[in-house]
Each structure stands twice: as structure tokens, then as C-alpha cells.
């Protein structure tokens, strides 16, 4: 059954908003337990070296310091962070230990945990930890990593962790026979998700019940519970993970980090609640970094601009260890570089390098932002070379609706094949042109107006979503007639309570205000997939639809008893169940017997939202400053649950993308020191940076893969931004022959490209 359409599609105000607006939300830093102690982490200030000694005596001597835990205290074997995604045996040597022992491999790597009566005292103790490290040369770039004179993992013997390959068709032949081939080398800089609420945990060990409770869980709570249970020698049932309000995720928060083990470990060791709140400096040097990639890629085409093939190599700078989802971006760069275009022949590989920098993980649109930058740049370069219009060349190459489902390149070694699920890609290209006012604005292209050069560009993208394999939901009709909905999806600030209530309300035919959504925590459902890869709405929402069906079945059965008819004869509305003879029984009556239903939605096929994004920039050729005058996007998500929250996702994603294209950069020096360790140096977009963003989301072609018809929609618009902005800058500076191949497009870089020296 397709859910009704009263709540779904309406721009409902969010149920979570009042508590945030009043300062009454409960983030993990707001959780306080009686008798809690505070932890801080002592971290390596050296990028690469052998640990000779960690002196803890002076720190322990400070009154109020309760413990200093080093790797020795973790038992004979220091647990490592497992690989949650792409768990290949070949990647196991690169897993991060919960505390460094033997060697340190990046600045910020945890060496010890200090627990004290207050965070102030704990930080005082931090200054008294004596660490002796014999430094080794730091590997901070591709050249040194590949040269391999120094390696991070001696047993492995090379800084190349693995090579991913994406194949389709016969690229060798396509390139051999092509009329047109162009090869370029592109670079995307290291940057990161940087959600505003720092990470944090509060752990409580109940020695009598032998139970661990952990506040601050996020994203993939059930998976993290499995990891934690295994590393602490507990069963999953002994651990309860509680998700409180979460201040943003974007792929990075909620992955398993060393602290996710260390803090519960400390709580059990001390038999006292332990609280840890990350500070921003730690965040910048320890939470997953992302995006640093170099791509040497060739495009082959016919003279009229039909793309025949893509081939080449990419190198991703993975940092020191491969964490839970460290391989997602490297594999995505290769598998999704073709994006929404029909490219028959593909041979792309990614070499995942280890370096002495913070480990990398996913950040909204992982590998896709990078790949789209490369592809969209190549397409514009090709259009220029061939003298074909930029728009026309895209239209010619977009996958057609008749080609759906359209298989993408297959990736190995963790083999996966996927296909585009449908959509009218050209239609959205046309609508984007129209919304943007392309025909009018194109006249400005390359023109000098009031001292600045104007340029426009447009690009097309796909967004993978709805990662399987399954998600769970449970629904309970409460005795007061309200309906509780429990779902395995997690909140990362996307408004999940509202969206899920809209879905549940329509599925049950119940009013919005009677539904209460609970999510994330392990107590709610038997298992849960969590929130990543734009999956919450698709997977969690679909599970709710299924659970609602079951709950309605149960209600009909119970009502049938009361009404003396067959269950099949009962019809339900928001207040009552009615039998064939118009006899009815109030739901409030039926809800006196508690009733629950649980369902799992399975799906291993991805959804692919898609769209286009156009931008207008003006460049000050003297300073190299790029001003973003206008950005317009359009995306099809198949089914819109809440247009207002979805619009928010789109605008937020675009501004993050602009940050990555123009501002944000995690800079290291040759010694492997992070130079951008404050928010003053790591530049995120501010309120004044990008005032004009117009995003549209439509429901044109429902996904065939789920009962809602929805496609994941949380990441999309970030994906094309780097490529489109770079193309717009190239268009603006056409007179100078500027072709940016590297992000971010910072003023000094643009100035140098123009010919400053």
C-alpha cells in the first residue's frame, strides 16, 4: 500500500525545534551523572616516531587526578578499531589501536587517558605527562609516501595500503580508437565535516549488574555497540547506548573512534561515571579528515563530444590508519567518477596511501565531491577543445531514461556493482538552466564588469542513497491512544523525529501530534542500521511503513473481536475502528490492550537522486578573490517527505560545498604538524560569505526500490559544487587562459594562475 498523502509532502514545522530554540535540548555535554569524573586524552605532538617512554608519575601526583591509562593498561592485546565497511583482510594491518603503542603515526594520536575530578584538573595533568618519542621522518605527501623510504607500517613494507579498480567496457580499446583524448592532473585538498557540536561521551559502569550505559552514541549505534562489546569483552546485551541530541554528523560523527572504547573502559576501570567532551583543537586533529585526493585522469570522446571513456589513477591520502569507513571515498572516487553520464568504457583505479596525518573517513558526498570535480572540469575542458557548447555536451552524454536501470562501473576488490535506478536527467538540466536564467547570464561570461570578471557554469550529479541491507522500526499503540514509533535510524540533526512522524502518521492515518518518534538508542529496536549514506528516510521510513501495516492488521484483528466481524471487514480511521454494520469501537478503547508491531525493511539496491547545479561567480583578478554571486540547484528525490527540511539539506550542502571549493583546507607542514588547528585558521563559511543560494527539490521519478518511492537526499548538492565553481572561475578568467585543476580556489592560488608570481 502506498501511504496516504496528508502529512507526507507537507512543510511541517519540526517537532524537535522548540527544545533547541529554548536551550532545552540535551546534547552529550549536557549529560551529568552523580559522581562523574572527567577524562582528557594525552596525544602525540609528533607525527611519526617510536615511543620510548610515557611518564605519568607527575600527572598522577596532582590532587584530583584519578588515573592515567596507557596502552599497557589495556591488557596484553591493545584492541584496534575494526573496519565497518569494506572489511578486507588486506586492510587489517592499517587499523588504529585504541591507544598508541610502539609507534605514533600522526599528531593527535591518543597516547593516554587522564581521568580527574574536573576537566580543569585533567588538563593540568595533561601538561605533566612526559612523553619521549624518537622521531622518524614524517610522510606528508604522495611523493614521499610512494617513494617508501620511510614506511608507517614496517610489517607491510609499503605506504600503499590497497588499490581499488573500477571497470566497465573496454577502456583500452576506446582510448586507442578515440578522436579526442585529454589528460589532466587534479588535486582536491584535505578538509573535513566539522560539525559544530564536538564529540563527547558519558559512560557509566554498573558493577553489580555488570552493565554499561553510554550516552553520546550516534549514527551507527548498533554497529558501534558490537565493536564496543567485542573490544571490552562484554556481550551486546550488557551495553546500552543512548543517543541524545546530536549536533551534526555529515559522515564523520558516530564512527567508532578510540575514545568510544577508552571512555567506557575508564568508567569500568574506575567504577565511576566518566565524561569526555572533545575540544575543538582535538576535533580538528583527530576526527576523520576527508577528501585529499590527486587524480590523473583522461577522457576520450568523439569530435562531436560523445564521451567514450574515462581512465586513470587517483591517489587518496588516507592518513595514518584506515578507520571504520576509510575506504569509502577511495572506492567512490573510482566507481562514481562517471556520475550521471553515459560512459561506456571505464578503467579507473585508486591507490589508498597511508601518511602521517589524521586518518580519513567519509564526509558528505565522500569520493563523489572529488570525482565530480575531476569529471566536470574535464567536460568543460573538452567542450572548449572541441568547440561544443558546455550545456549541449552534457545533454548529449547524460544517461537517458530509456537506459535505466543503468549499470555503473564495477569496483573491486571488495566487489560491488550498482545501477542507476531511474530519472529524467535531461529534464532537470533544462529546469536548472531555466531557474538559473542561463540564457541571460551567459552573456556575462568572461566579461569584466566593475572590475571583476564574471563567469558561469553548470554541472550534473547523482547522489547515492538508501544503503542497505536493512532497517528496523517498531510501533506501539500506547494506552493513552498515542503512537510511539521506534526506529533504528539515528539523528544527526536532520529532523528525523519530524520526518518519521510524517511517514508514520500517513501510514497509520493518524494525526501528527499523536505520534512520538524515538530513534538511535539501542533500547528501541532489536537492531538498527543507523544514519549514513542518505539512508535514514529511505530505509527507516520504509520500515515504518511496513510496521504500520502490521500494526493496522493487529488493530483490525482486535477490533474484529470487539465488533464481532472479520478482520478484513474492519476499516480504520484516526479515532475509531468500524465494522460492516457501521458499528464502531474507539481506538482509545482498543488501546487499553497494549499493541506493538515490528518490521524490517530489506533492500540492497541503492537509490540515486540526481540533479544539476549552476553557479555565477565574479573574480577580482588583482586579489584572486572569487565572489559567488548566485548558485541554483535542482534535484529529484523521488518522493518528498518534508519539503522544508529537504530544502534545508540542499542549501546546507551547497554552502558546505562552497566551503570546500573556496575556503576550507587542513594544512600540514613537512613535519606533519597540523597548521590549521583553530577555527580562526580553518575557515568555514560564515553568514556573510554566500548570501544567494536557490535550491529546488522535486519529486519527478519515484524510486522503484522502496514503498515510499523516496531517494536519499541528504548529500546531493555538495557533490557538484567544487567542479561547478572551478568551471565558473575558468569561464570568468577565459581571457587569461586560467584552468584551475586544484582546490581550494583560494585568492593566492587564483592570483598565481592569472600570472602573479
Amino acid at each position: 500500500m502506498k501511504p496516504g498523502n496528508l502529512l507526507i509532502g507537507a512543510p511541517m514545522e519540526r517537532v524537535e525545534d522548540p527544545r533547541f530554540l529554548r536551550g532545552a535540548a540535551r546534547f552529550v555535554a549536557d549529560v551529568n551523572l552523580e559522581g562523574q569524573a572527567h577524562a582528557v586524552i594525552a596525544r602525540s605532538s609528533i607525527a611519526h616516531g617510536h615511543i620510548r617512554a610515557i611518564e605519568t608519575g607527575d600527572a598522577l601526583a596532582i590532587p584530583g587526578v584519578r588515573a592515567v591509562i596507557t596502552a599497557h593498561d589495556l591488557g596484553p592485546e591493545v584492541p584496534v578499531i575494526p573496519l565497518r565497511l569494506q572489511p578486507l583482510a588486506a586492510l587489517e594491518p592499517f587499523r588504529q589501536p585504541m591507544l598508541a603503542h610502539g609507534k605514533v603515526r600522526f599528531v593527535g594520536e591518543p597516547l593516554a587517558v587522564i581521568v580527574a575530578d574536573s576537566p580543569q584538573i585533567a588538563e593540568d595533568a595533561l601538561e605533566r605527562i612526559g612523553v619521549e618519542i624518537e622521531p622518524l621522518p614524517a610522510i606528508v605527501d604522495r611523493a614521499r609516501a610512494e617513494a617508501g623510504e620511510t614506511v608507517l607500517f614496517e610489517d607491510h613494507g609499503s605506504n600503499v595500503a590497497i588499490r581499488w579498480t573500477a571497470m566497465r567496457g573496454d577502456a583500452e580499446r576506446a582510448f586507442a580508437n578515440a578522436d579526442y583524448v585529454r589528460r589532466e592532473t587534479f588535486r582536491i585538498q584535505r578538509h573535513a565535516a566539522l560539525f559544530m557540536e564536538p564529540r563527547g561521551l558519558v559512560a557509566q559502569w554498573d558493577a553489580t549488574a555488570r552493565k554499561l550505559t553510554l550516552w553520546g552514541a550516534a549514527k551507527v549505534v548498533f554497529a558501534n555497540r558490537r565493536i564496543l562489546a567485542a573490544s571490552m569483552g562484554l556481550t551486546e546485551q550488557q551495553i546500552e547506548m543512548i543517543e541524545v541530541d546530536v549536533g551534526g554528523g555529515f559522515g564523520s560523527r558516530g564512527e567508532f573512534y578510540p575514545e568510544d572504547f577508552l571512555i567506557p573502559f575508564a568508567a569500568r576501570l574506575l567504577n565511576r561515571p566518566v565524561k569526555w567532551i572533545e575540544d575543538r583543537r582535538e576535533h580538528l586533529m583527530t576526527a576523520n579528515h576527508a577528501r585529499e585526493t590527486e587524480c590523473e585522469v583522461e577522457i576520450a570522446a568523439t569530435t562531436d563530444g560523445r564521451i567514450l571513456g574515462l581512465r586513470g589513477r587517483s591517489w587518496t591520502d588516507n592518513g595514518a590508519y584506515i578507520r571504520t569507513n576509510g575506504s569509502v571515498a577511495p572506492r567512490n572516487v573510482a566507481q562514481f567518477m562517471s556520475g550521471p553520464y553515459d560512459i561506456e568504457n571505464i578503467a579507473l583505479s585508486t591507490i589508498q596511501l597511508t601518511t602521517n596525518k589524521t586518518p580519513a573517513g567519509t564526509y558528505r558526498g565522500p569520493g563523489r565531491f572529488e570525482g565530480d570535480f575531476v569529471r566536470e572540469r574535464l567536460i568543460d575542458l573538452m567542450a572548449k577543445d572541441l568547440g561544443v557548447d558546455r550545456v549541449e555536451i552534457r545533454r548529449r552524454n547524460l544517461v537517458r531514461e530509456t537506459q535505466m536501470p543503468y549499470p555503473l562501473a564495477t569496483i573491486t576488490p571488495y566487489e560491488s556493482a550498482t545501477e542507476l535506478d531511474g530519472g529524467d536527467y535531461r529534464e532537470l538540466l533544462d529546469r536548472c538552466l531555466e531557474d538559473f536564467g542561463w540564457a541571460e547570464k551567459v552573456k556575462l561570461d568572461g566579461q569584466l564588469v566593475d572590475g571583476r570578471y564574471h563567469g558561469i557554469a553548470i554541472g550534473c550529479f547523482i547522489e547515492g542513497g538508501g544503503a542497505g541491507p536493512s532497517e528496523n522500526a517498531r510501533m506501539a499503540l500506547e494506552t493513552d491512544g498515542s503512537i510511539s514509533v521506534y526506529v533504528g535510524s539515528a539523528s544527526v540533526g536532520q529532523g528525523i523525529e519530524t520526518i518519521m512522524a510524517q511517514i508514520a502518521g500517513d501510514a497509520l492515518g493518524a494525526p501528527f501530534d499523536r505520534i512520538r518518534v524515538r530513534h538511535g538508542s539501542t533500547g528501541h529496536v532489536a537492531d538498527g542500521g543507523g544514519s549514513y549514506h542518505s539512508r535514514s528516510t529511505v530505509m527507516g521510513g520504509s520500515a515504518i511503513v511496513l510496521a504500520a501495516e502490521k500494526l493496522k492488521d493487529k488493530l483490525r484483528h482486535v477490533a474484529a473481536g470487539a465488533l464481532g466481524c472479520e478482520a478484513g471487514e474492519v476499516s480504520l480511521d484516526s479515532d475509531a475502528a468500524r465494522g460492516p454494520s457501521d458499528k464502531s469501537v474507539a481506538l482509545s478503547e482498543l488501546s487499553k490492550t497494549p499493541m506493538t508491531a515490528e518490521a524490517t525493511f530489506h533492500c540492497t539496491k541503492m537509490t540515486y537522486a540526481y540533479g544539476s547545479l549552476a553557479a555565477h561567480v565574479a573574480v577580482d583578478a588583482k586579489t584572486g578573490q572569487v565572489e559567488v554571486i548566485d548558485v541554483v540547484s535542482i534535484k529529484d528525490v523521488g518522493r518528498i517527505i518534508n519539503p522544508a527540511t529537504l530544502h534545508g539539506q540542499a542549501v546546507g550542502a551547497i554552502v558546505q560545498g562552497l566551503g570546500g571549493a573556496l575556503l576550507e583546507h587542513l594544512v600540514y607542514d613537512d613535519e606533519g604538524q597540523l597548521l590549521t588547528g583553530t577555527l580562526a585558521d580553518y575557515m568555514m563559511p560564515g553568514a556573510d560569505c554566500f548570501p544567494n543560494i536557490r535550491a529546488t527539490v522535486v519529486e519527478l521519478k519515484p524510486s522503484p526500490h522502496n514503498p515510499l518511492g523516496a531517494k536519499g537526499g541528504g548529500e546531493g548538492e555538495i557533490i557538484p559544487v567544487g567542479g561547478v565553481i572551478a568551471n565558473a572561475v575558468a569561464a570568468a578568467l577565459a581571457d587569461f587562459g586560467v584552468e584551475p585543476l586544484e582546490l581550494p580556489l583560494s585568492p593566492p592560488r587564483i592570483w598565481a594562475l592569472i600570472g602573479g608570481s
Binding site: R14, F20, G23, A29, E197, T645, G648, L679, G686
Partner: protein
């Protein structure tokens, strides 16, 4: 050190170590956890509170410096019955997602509109440039603040 100040209209008197920031004092001692800490080095604005009418960073101020002052936090701009016009405007425009930056946005915007109820879009952007939001892209926040201006201009302006 023994200090006294007024927070959200209530007089408080307490002992604090001089090194405790006003933000930590509000959050940990007074359990006013609406004031958030996003950076603790003065850049993100999540900790913004109003001290004697002026929006300030509570992470860069010591609790002892607040001795004798009147402090308003996000909790002081709220009541349980209904959202304030500014809060309602934020909700209406979907000017929050994760909500972590929100208290700082509310306190900053409130201080601004109290002083300058006619602030234009550029001024609002300028003032809010000291508050980082990673989720919304700011567009709805600016809209929300602009729309709330009317409530600060008239007779029913909040105190």
C-alpha cells in the same frame, strides 16, 4: 572566589575558581546548558550570552568577571508556554537543523534587534558572521531574523 550576579532575572551567589569561564559556570554550576561550547576559543559564537545588554562570548569571559552583572542566556529569552516571536520565526523558516548553534544565534539576534530593530539584511549577515552554523547554510537564519524585526520595533518589543 565569592561572586554575585543576576542571571535571567534571578540573583545568584556562588563560589567559583577564578579560572572557570562564564560559559562553564553557567553550564556546570547553574546547569543552564542552553549556552553551548563549540570552540572555546572565541570563533564559533555558540556560547553567546548577553551581559548588561551586550552580546558576548561566554567562553572568553571568566565567571568572576561577571560579578555584579546582569546576564541573559537563551533560557532567559524563553518561556514554557509559547515560543518568542524570534524563536517562532526560526521555527517557521527552518532556521535550525542540529540546533547546536541555535542558542547563540538566538541570543545574538536578540541583542542585535533590541538595539537595532531596523537592521537590514546586510547588517544581520555582518553581525551573525561571528556565529558559525554548519548545517543550514545561513539563508533561513537570515530570513528568520529579518522577519522577527517587526516584533522588536513596536510597543510589544521584548524587554
Amino acid at each position: 572566589m565569592r561572586i554575585k550576579f543576576e542571571v535571567n532575572g534571578t540573583k545568584v551567589e556562588l563560589d567559583v575558581e577564578p579560572r572557570v569561564s562564564l560559559a562553564d559556570c553557567l553550564r556546570d554550576t547553574l546547569r543552564l546548558t542552553g549556552t553551548h561550547l563549540g570552540c572555546e576559543h572565541g570563533v564559533c559564537g555558540a556560547c553567546t550570552v548577553i551581559v548588561d545588554g551586550a552580546a558576548v562570548r561566554a567562553c572568553l569571559m571568566l565567571a568572576v568577571q561577571a560579578h555584579g552583572e546582569h546576564i541573559v542566556t537563551v533560557e532567559g529569552l524563553s518561556n514554557d508556554d509559547a515560543l518568542s516571536p524570534l524563536q517562532a520565526s526560526f521555527r517557521k523558516h527552518h532556521a535550525l537543523q542540529c540546533g547546536f548553534c541555535t542558542p547563540g544565534m538566538i541570543t545574538t539576534a536578540h541583542a542585535l534587534l533590541t538595539e537595532e530593530p531596523d537592521a537590514d539584511a546586510e547588517r544581520v549577515r555582518e553581525v551573525l558572521s561571528g556565529n558559525i552554523c554548519r548545517c543550514t547554510g545561513y539563508i533561513p537564519i537570515i530570513k528568520a531574523v529579518l522577519e522577527a524585526r517587526a516584533h522588536y520595533a513596536g510597543e510589544d518589543a521584548p524587554p
